[in-house]
């Protein structure tokens, strides 16, 4: 570990021994360009654009959900709406039919 540190110091010293100074004309050029353009300020809309994008995004997701809802919904089992019981008295040519519906109780309880 110490050997690594010694080597690191040595490499760093060699790397830094070759140091170029900043050309003055480059600094001048940068200063001119910087003064011609003001620091960038994020406009209000861009600052809130992410928050605003959430609203249409959520709406799109909601509509997609509505479109997929019928496919996702379970096929409903057929419901029994009435029960028919039929008796035929053949010799008297009579047919008796009992119809039982949810709103009609066959055996009324008092």
């Amino acid at each position: 570990m110490d050997e690594d540190k010694i080597l690191d110091k040595k490499i760093s010293r060699l790397v830094r021994s070759l140091e170029n100074s900043l050309p003055p004309e480059l600094e001048e050029r940068i200063a001119i360009k910087a003064s011609s353009g003001a620091p960038h300020r994020r406009p209000f809309f861009r600052k809130w654009s992410l928050a605003l994008a959430v609203i249409p995004g959520a709406a799109a997701l909601f509509f997609a959900f509505l479109l997929l809802l019928p496919a996702l919904r379970k096929q409903q089992e057929p419901q029994i709406t009435e029960i028919r019981t039929q008796f035929e008295l053949v010799d008297k040519n009579i047919t008796i039919i009992f119809i039982q519906r949810p709103d009609f109780k066959l055996f009324k309880e008092d």
């Binding site: 690594d4 080597l7 690191d8 040595k10 490499i11 760093s12 060699l14 790397v15 830094r16 021994s17 070759l18 140091e19 170029n20 100074s21 900043l22 050309p23 480059l26 050029r29 940068i30 360009k33 910087a34 353009g37 003001a38 620091p39 960038h40 300020r41 994020r42």
Partner: protein, 168 residues
């Protein structure tokens, strides 16, 4: 009126923060680009980019790490759009003023760095030229600390041999 004053204060603060880091930043860019003549343009873009977006810099953060991360991105974009080979200063010419033994070692280090991939070279110079720690380099480059340590360890091993040759 108040806004203009604020902008003036912000500009002054920027140049004040730039002063102690500019030389290290310039040398980092220059060495990461293998002493390419494009280094001046990349440095200019880095400084102007930082200047324009200085308002987004959080004052509680480290300015040096912030501007080096901008430089890192500028170097990356430079290599992405680089199609033609650009001119670069030769290491031999740059080390001409140094004495023979030191010059040879410096040449060895820079020739080694020139053979690295751009991403690896940036890690190498962020550590050895700019003096950042591995967690700081991870923050600047977005690379994992383990990977940075591996790159540095490989560099150390290769340079150990190369530098050892010159020490006899």
């Amino acid at each position: 009126m108040k806004e203009k004053e604020e902008a003036g204060v912000s500009q002054a603060a920027f140049w004040e923060l730039m002063e102690p880091v500019k030389l290290r930043l310039y040398n980092f860019i220059l060495k990461s680009l293998n002493f390419s003549t494009d280094a001046d343009d990349v440095y200019q873009e880095t400084v102007l980019h930082a200047f324009r977006y200085f308002a987004s810099f959080r004052k509680d953060k480290d300015f040096r790490a912030w501007i080096f991360s901008i430089a890192h991105n500028e170097i990356k974009s430079h290599f992405r759009r680089l199609r033609k080979q650009t001119a670069s200063h030769s290491i031999d010419a740059l080390t001409a003023s140094q004495n023979d033994s030191t010059g040879a070692l410096v040449r060895e280090v820079f020739q080694f760095a020139a053979r690295l991939k751009p991403k690896e070279r940036q890690v190498f110079f962020l550590y050895y030229e700019s003096g950042f720690s591995t967690p700081e380099i991870s923050g600047i480059t977005g690379l994992k600390e383990g990977y940075i340590k591996l790159l540095l360890s490989q560099a150390r091993n290769r340079l150990k041999e190369a530098l050892g040759v010159h020490h006899g």
